[in-house]
């Protein structure tokens, strides 16, 4: 056996060992559609979390996603004009054809979010993995982001709150919106609305990494036509819709 052969074998052995370690190490698995990250690890810019909503599967009158969101995030579920609604069901009708569509609407987690552009203090921000959030500690409650959002996705907390969820800090006088259930996503789970929709038997929402060609969401948007709401604004939303 020549010296170079020994070197090659040694290299292959290391390579096999490394691959085995990668595959076995928790939290670095390539086979799962959503994977968590360690608390100290920064969100990765290689990931772009997104949702694909198939409106053909979304049922009129079903609000499983809305109630799940309210439960998960400690929202009251009230529907006064001053109540926060992170996700809502919209009913659409084309007046020319009579075709009806039902769909959930929430923060679209834009790549170029106008709420982040207009925020004077930088409280509105986009994480490296595409999730748009509000830092409740530096939000001054000016509501400029609410004026700027094309999707009416944001709410101001209009009154005192009680019984908040430890994972989901909220505060009177600050602005809030869908976080894509960021604590769950960081644990490697799916957002509450996605799970609830699947549990209700509709499975209308697919969640995953748009940048990962192996993910279900990436494969579906590659194969079937999907659209962004107000695509004309060029925000490149992370949430896409089928069937509208």
């Amino acid at each position: 056996m020549s010296g170079s052969d020994a070197g090659r074998r040694q290299f292959l052995a290391w390579g096999a060992g490394a691959v085995a370690t990668l595959t076995l190490a928790p939290g670095v698995l390539l086979l799962q559609p959503a994977h968590g990250r360690a608390p100290a690890e920064a969100a990765s810019g290689k990931v772009r979390w997104g949702m694909l909503i198939d409106t053909n599967q979304c049922a009129t009158g079903c609000d499983a996603c809305v109630t799940a969101c309210n439960r998960e995030n400690g929202l009251s579920g009230g529907t006064r004009e001053t109540d926060s609604q992170w996700i809502r069901k919209m009913e659409l009708e084309d007046p020319r054809t009579g075709r009806k569509t039902s769909l959930p609407m929430m923060c679209q987690h834009c790549e170029k979010p106008p709420c982040v552009d207009v925020c004077p203090t930088g409280a509105s921000f986009k994480r490296a993995d595409g999730i748009v959030l509000v830092d409740k500690h530096i939000c001054i409650g000016c509501r400029y982001c609410m004026m700027a959002c094309p999707y009416k996705a944001r709410s101001l907390v209009h009154e005192n709150l009680a019984d908040q969820k430890p994972d989901v800090p909220r505060g009177k006088g600050t602005v809030e919106a869908c976080t894509l259930c960021v604590p769950r996503v960081d644990r490697g789970e799916h957002p509450a609305c996605v799970e609830a929709c699947a549990a209700a038997g509709h499975g209308a929402i697919v969640f995953g990494d748009l940048n990962d060609p192996a993910s279900e969401i990436a494969q579906r948007v590659a194969k079937y036509p999907s659209v962004q709401v107000r695509a004309d604004l060029g925000m490149n939303t992370g949430v896409r819709y089928q069937g509208i």
Partner: protein
């Protein structure tokens, strides 16, 4: 001929009554702000649909009028019209006072007014709001400097460059204010480069109207002479400025009417939107523009003090009506997520959003006006802002 500036005496019953009324209004405004801070915005008429309300109507009006109040000083220093020189210090003072009043309202309306220090220490420079913090504070500094150059004899020779700086600054400032709305791409009422120049034209008109009210009242109450020739020039200028605003408003709406996607919104604001067409046509156009123009153009009564004050007050009320239509009407019309579709939801999609201002927010807005008023009332008593007499002979000699 030298201009002799002198403090007003400020001992009359009317003066003390004015201070008392303004003081009470400020107290009511602060009580309103405290209520909003304590209970949250639930005590106002503002909602998640009508995000900005009456406080913003007053605040934006005051800020826009502030830059316009500097007109008279700019005409003297930048355009070299000596006639206006004796009038200039009051112009600078009023600009500062109106801006302070407007900013106070804006700050006290914040969901977290206690985080003012955050707003002053953390900046996101893609935000026109963040830039405006610099434009507003910078404006106060530049105009204060300008006043110093005007009022301190040894510094008089620097008045012209300071006047240029203030003039350029006020144009940039109003561009920034108009752009708060102009940069909102998603809303049909806004998203237009027209808003910045239109706000500049409005600032000229509203600012001069505010200036004229203060000038005539200050001279009448302090028993000083105010020559009709001075008033005649200023009221003629106001006619031109009102016309300029009408021009911009006409072009803005005509452009929108030409775009099929904007027609529903224009219908709402101009025809069937309830209070908004009423305020637009009745408030902004007829009472706020056409009537004051006709009054001021009257050959005999046009330059009379009473006419000038009444017409100026109408321009101010028309300006508030315009801000109401622009700011609240623009939000009342539903945001269009799916053009061409009929939509409904639990979050009031596709519906016209109602708005009824609450008492605390009205008190806060009026409190801002009172802050501007009290700053002027105290400043003219403490410092030499007003010429002892203001006749045409003095003005012409400058």
């Amino acid at each position: 001929m030298k201009i002799a500036y002198r403090e007003i005496e400020g001992r009359s019953a009317a003066y003390w009554l004015l201070l008392a009324v303004l003081g009470a209004m400020i107290a009511a405004g602060l009580a309103g702000a405290w209520t909003m801070e304590h209970h949250g915005h639930i005590v106002t008429g503002m909602t998640n649909q009508i995000v900005w309300g009456i406080p913003h109507v007053f605040a934006v009006f005051l800020i826009v009028a502030a830059s316009g109040a500097l007109n008279v000083a700019s005409i003297a220093s930048v355009f070299g019209r000596g006639f206006y020189k004796p009038l200039a210090p009051l112009s600078g003072l009023l600009a500062i006072a109106l801006l302070v009043g407007g900013l106070a309202v804006l700050m006290l309306d914040l969901g977290r007014a206690d985080r003012l220090v955050v707003a002053m220490t953390r900046y996101n420079f893609t935000s026109i709001f963040a830039l405006n913090v610099f434009l507003y504070t910078g404006f106060l500094a530049v105009v204060a400097l300008y006043l110093w150059m005007m009022m301190e004899r040894r510094m008089n020779r620097y008045t012209t460059p300071a006047g240029y700086a203030a003039f350029v600054w006020r144009l940039v400032l109003t561009t920034g204010t108009g752009s708060i709305f102009g940069f909102l791409v998603a809303r049909q009422a806004y998203a237009s480069a027209m808003l910045a120049p239109m706000f500049i034209a409005m600032s000229f008109s509203y600012g001069l109207a505010a200036y004229l009210v203060v000038l005539v009242v200050a001279y009448a109450w302090s028993g000083r002479e105010l020559d009709a020739a001075v008033l005649r020039r200023l009221k003629n200028l106001l006619i031109v400025l009102i016309a300029a605003v009408l021009y911009f408003v006409a072009v803005f709406h005509l452009t929108n009417l030409y775009f099929a996607r904007q027609i529903a919104f224009e219908r709402f604001i101009l025809v069937d939107g309830g209070i908004y067409p009423a305020l637009f046509w009745g408030g902004q156009i007829v009472l706020g523009s056409l009537v004051p123009m006709a009054m001021l153009a009257h050959p005999h009564l046009g330059a009379a003090r009473g006419t000038v004050v009444a017409a100026s007050l109408l321009v101010i009320l028309g300006g508030l009506a315009q801000m109401y239509v622009t700011i609240i009407g623009g939000q009342a019309f539903p945001l269009e997520l799916f053009p061409g579709m009929e939509v409904s939801s639990s979050f009031f999609d596709g519906r016209i959003h109602p708005y009824t201002p609450g008492l605390p927010e009205v008190a806060l807005g009026l409190g801002g006006v009172a802050i501007a008023g009290i700053v002027v009332a105290l400043a003219v008593k403490l410092l030499r802002f007003l010429p002892e007499r203001l006749d045409a002979q003095l003005a012409e000699s400058q």
